[in-house]
């Protein structure tokens, strides 16, 4: 469909120049498909629960996460401490909430970093083509060969782990897959009439990428985001478990679990299994959402 057949009303809302009618109903179709997927609803439910748990929870369930208290260390769950206390006397449930904040913040921020780098890299590579494309894709190959967890650990040891530094490092080594996905989309999109029309109308490369190509490649990017968040949360938990995670007073789930695992033989289950369940559930919820989004996007793409 060429540009001049666009209904004028939708120009503000939809990506300029695309097949407005088809794309819109495609998105609506995708949304319906997503809502009809039971696992998707479960996944969204889990994610919403953990966002509320981590960010609203501490407002309701007040705990002291700053001062150690050896007198109440390693207490089993009681009315005062619903999930008991850890080896330093911190309330486990309150600690899980704080760890959840860090996990979600790092997860989403790292995913954002990875997606922004990857989408721009892939779009430029696909649009410019030729030798530039070859070189840029070899760079992607090089980054794919970097052992992700090792490098993240080395940098965490050296520069100290904070929410910001971990997000940047994880994001910086996780953009290869979105770059390849977006490049693949751009390679087909750039041959389409609306891109030709935009070029004829005088759009430069940057405008083409930002207004035409990226909005139309949004589907594959959205699917990838959820997996990126899940992977980043897992990576943070690994870094934390090995003892190179966030520093006091910040808390991360992996570190909390590692502390608890010292008392495995004492049977202090409340220090290990609830927080482990937090990691598994959050990652699983995100994976559910990602799988459902991918199925839903397939429906949308089939409409094209």
């Amino acid at each position: 469909m060429a540009m001049n057949s666009l209904p004028p009303l939708d120009v503000q809302r939809a990506p300029e120049g695309g097949e407005i009618g088809a794309v819109q109903s495609g998105w609506r179709l995708a949304l319906r498909e997503f809502r009809n997927n039971r696992l998707a609803v479960v996944g969204v439910g889990i994610l919403v629960f953990f966002v509320l748990f981590s960010f609203i929870g501490p407002l309701i369930y007040h705990t002291d996460q700053l001062d150690t208290n050896p007198i109440i260390a390693n207490q089993a769950p009681t009315g005062a401490h619903l999930l008991g206390t850890d080896g330093e006397g911190f309330d486990e449930l309150g600690r899980m909430m704080k760890g959840g904040q860090a996990a979600l913040e790092i997860g989403f921020f790292a995913a954002a970093v990875a997606i922004v780098i990857g989408a721009l890299w892939g779009a430029v590579s696909g649009l410019v083509g030729g030798i530039v494309d070859s070189v840029m894709m070899r760079v992607v190959d090089v980054f794919l060969a970097v052992p992700f967890l090792f490098v993240v650990l080395i940098l965490a040891v050296k520069f100290g782990a904070t929410v910001l530094s971990l997000s940047l490092v994880i994001g910086f080594f996780a953009w290869q897959v979105p770059a390849r996905l977006v490049r693949g989309e751009v390679l087909t999109l750039r041959e389409r009439d609306f891109v030709l029309a935009a070029r004829t109308a005088g759009s430069g490369n940057w405008r083409l990428i930002s207004r035409h190509l990226l909005p139309n490649a949004l589907g594959v990017v959205i699917v990838n985001v959820t997996f990126q968040v899940a992977d980043a949360i897992l990576a943070v938990s690994y870094v934390g478990f090995l003892g190179f995670g966030l520093h006091f007073p910040a808390v991360d789930w992996g570190d909390q679990l590692a502390n608890g695992s010292n008392f495995l033989e004492d049977g202090y289950w409340w220090q290990i299994f609830p927080v482990g369940a937090c990691i598994v559930l959050t990652v699983m919820g995100l994976n559910f959402i990602g799988d459902a989004l991918r199925d839903a996007m397939d429906v949308r793409l089939r409409r094209r």
């Binding site: 060969a145 559910f288 991918r294």
Partner: protein, 339 residues
């Protein structure tokens, strides 16, 4: 690679291209080899620069914290650490090619010696886990595809979903809790023996580390295998085989297993980075003295030459793994025509 591959999250794989003339295997291999070498050179430069940025010189580790700046400078000069980075990289690569992986000042041993001591143990743990994972995932995935939506399929899918979202250390801790503490069947620590033969024979100590790594790997492989098998089951040649009256057992054995297992070759190659990471976590959790534990200790002791060599070895292994997977696939699948 199919878009629903759990490992690459839908990333298209740079595999052999279909179509084109047959018999150009050599051209393809040469081109694939050259690309791999370029990537290895690129990734080694990148990792070297990155670690050099983080840890410019081990002088402090050698001379102690009280060393004066002049002593540090003199040591750097004497040991080549004040050369331009690219010269240092060249010396390092030159050493690698002559079997010198660097020197660990923390352990007072050559990195090569440290690696030699531990490689067999890591190879055993990763190798047997990989073999077990493939041996379990292929029949499991096929079973799930054939008995789609049965109770067995749903149980296996749910288990795979949970394991796939589980950090390996948590799975290991659960196994320790259940099988080493609640029911003391196995040891909660990996084998500490110096001899690889004792390690291999020590099932009491090795079952839990192997089970941890295997289960995590099976989770992603079986999901993949299930969808690959479902695709094959929908193919016309399966219908033909059934229509001509071939017993179902033979349909599965002759037609389904071979075709559905082909993508596993690529999957195994692609999952090497994950296996390395799993190895690091599992060895740290079970205190099993392999390469992963060595790397973990090098992080704690800031032993830069070990970190560098291990990370580089990991990168090379990933590239070589992908290369071998691609080559193996072209050999195993006669339908692939190389351009």
């Amino acid at each position: 690679m199919r878009p629903d591959d759990p490992v690459s999250h839908g990333c298209p794989v740079r595999g052999p291209r279909r179509g084109g003339k047959a018999g150009s295997m050599v051209t393809y291999l040469v081109r694939r080899l050259i690309t791999s070498i370029v990537v290895v050179v690129g990734v080694s430069i990148f990792i070297f620069l990155l670690l050099h940025l983080a840890y410019p010189s081990p002088a402090r580790a050698v001379l102690g914290l009280s060393a004066r700046p002049a002593q540090v400078n003199a040591w750097n000069l004497a040991n080549g650490y004040d050369d331009p980075v690219i010269v240092q990289y060249w010396h390092y690569v030159d050493g690698l090619l002559h079997g010198n992986l660097g020197y660990s000042y923390v352990e007072n041993q050559s990195v090569l010696a440290l690696f030699q001591e531990r490689t067999a143990r890591s190879l055993y743990l990763s190798g047997i886990s990989l073999v077990l994972a493939v041996a379990i995932a292929i029949p499991l995935g096929i079973f799930q595809a054939v008995k789609r939506n049965s109770i067995g399929d749903n149980v296996a899918t749910s288990a795979a979903f949970i394991l796939y979202s589980m950090p390996s250390f948590f799975l290991g801790l659960i196994l320790i809790q259940v099988l080493a503490l609640s029911f003391p069947i196995f040891s909660f620590e990996g084998s500490q023996s110096q001899s690889i033969w004792v390690v291999i024979g020590d099932w009491n100590a090795m079952t839990l580390p192997i089970a941890t790594l295997t289960l995590i790997t099976v989770a992603s492989y079986s999901r993949y295998m299930r969808s690959a098998s479902m695709d094959v089951l929908a193919q016309d040649y399966i219908k033909v085989a059934r229509a001509k009256g071939l017993p179902e057992r033979l349909v599965l054995l002759r037609h389904l297993v071979r075709n559905a297992s082909l993508p596993m070759v690529t999957l195994v190659g692609l999952s090497l980075p994950g296996l390395l990471a799993g190895n690091l976590i599992t060895e740290s959790l079970f205190n099993y003295p392999g390469l992963g534990l060595l790397f973990f200790e090098s992080l704690q002791k800031v032993d830069y030459p070990v970190m560098l060599a291990y990370t580089l070895a990991g990168a090379v292994l990933v590239v070589v793994g992908n290369l071998i997977a691609d080559i193996a696939l072209t050999v195993a699948d006669p339908r692939i025509r190389l351009a």
